[in-house]
Symmetry: C2
Subunit: 184 residues, 2 copies
């Protein structure tokens, strides 16, 4: 005899989605499946998110917000920012997977656009310390972009199983960062 009102169904649906995606990929998400996971009628999710893309929009927005916090906590250091990116991807594989498949969600959602823009800024800002002194702004942008690509590529390849690092992935990422950028 579960109570008619659920408590925090919205949050619990998102958590169920995260678990399903981490286990079986974003394609495995169905509103009916999530409803069943939460012990609720299959029409309940639509009440909170409108439609399936709405649910994934909420999930992606949540991901960009958390990623922004993680990057900000790195304090603008170039390598640490990249490692925070990798750590986020490893700790939140479901968010990471959805965030970079904009066809799954409402990519023009206001909150999402705001959160995504913040992560871009933080990634760009971290390169100030990394490019050689007196570098042009174009050069700085290239360093920032290269760092992002390196860490994003590493996280993606680990996530899809193309790479299986021994031990802590973040430690491997640190070595890769040094191998590419030296001591910057």
């Amino acid at each position: 005899m579960p109570p008619y009102h659920h408590g925090d169904l919205r949050r619990e649906l998102l958590e169920a989605a995260v678990e399903a995606i981490a286990d079986r990929g974003a394609a495995a998400v169905t509103l009916r499946g999530l409803a069943a996971d939460c012990g609720v009628s299959h029409a309940a999710p639509a009440h909170h998110f409108g439609d399936k893309a709405g649910l994934l929009t909420a999930l992606a927005t949540d991901g960009f917000e958390r990623l922004g916090e993680a990057l900000a906590a790195a304090g603008g250091d170039f390598l640490e920012t990249g490692l925070a990116y990798v750590r986020f991807a490893c700790d939140h594989p479901a968010h990471f997977e959805v965030m970079f498949q904009p066809s799954l969600y409402h990519a023009d959602d206001e909150a999402l656009v705001t959160a995504r823009a913040r992560t871009s800024e933080l990634l760009g800002a971290s390169s100030r310390a990394a490019a050689p002194l007196g570098s042009s702004s174009g050069r700085r942008r290239e360093v920032a972009l290269a760092g992002w690509c390196l860490m994003h590529g590493f996280a993606s390849l680990v996530r899809t199983g193309a790479i299986t690092p021994e031990g802590d992935p973040v430690a491997t990422a640190r070595r890769l960062g040094r191998a590419a950028f030296g001591s910057r």
Copy 2:
């Protein structure tokens, strides 16, 4: 009045799949849709590929084989190998997308495993020229892996629309490679 026998339906189904994936993503592939694209009954694809995963296995294998050829043509040069990787991803986005989603296909297929192993070897081999003289083999592996991650990340971020390079993506990738690895 199309002829009963089709000519090369297998090849044409794969081409239809490539087009559909490039346009609307791997999730948009359906055997019935591809059959319709080829003007053939909806049960025909199963005759050639057994099932949907079989079709995508063939597509991924084809991709790894072509990628292997492209990498080999770079002649073992570190930067050129990476750029060949990016060029392949840009020219064959559908193959690229499927290749790195092993949940879509039969990942233990023999021909696929062989073709995939070859690309790994070629990526690893290109780092011999890139690591400083007298580097340990571990160090060389790190350089190879970092190069792969950088180019894979760049290709992925371009593909998903997170990055929109001005002009030729390969030219941008070259600048990123230099920004990270210097003149290696």
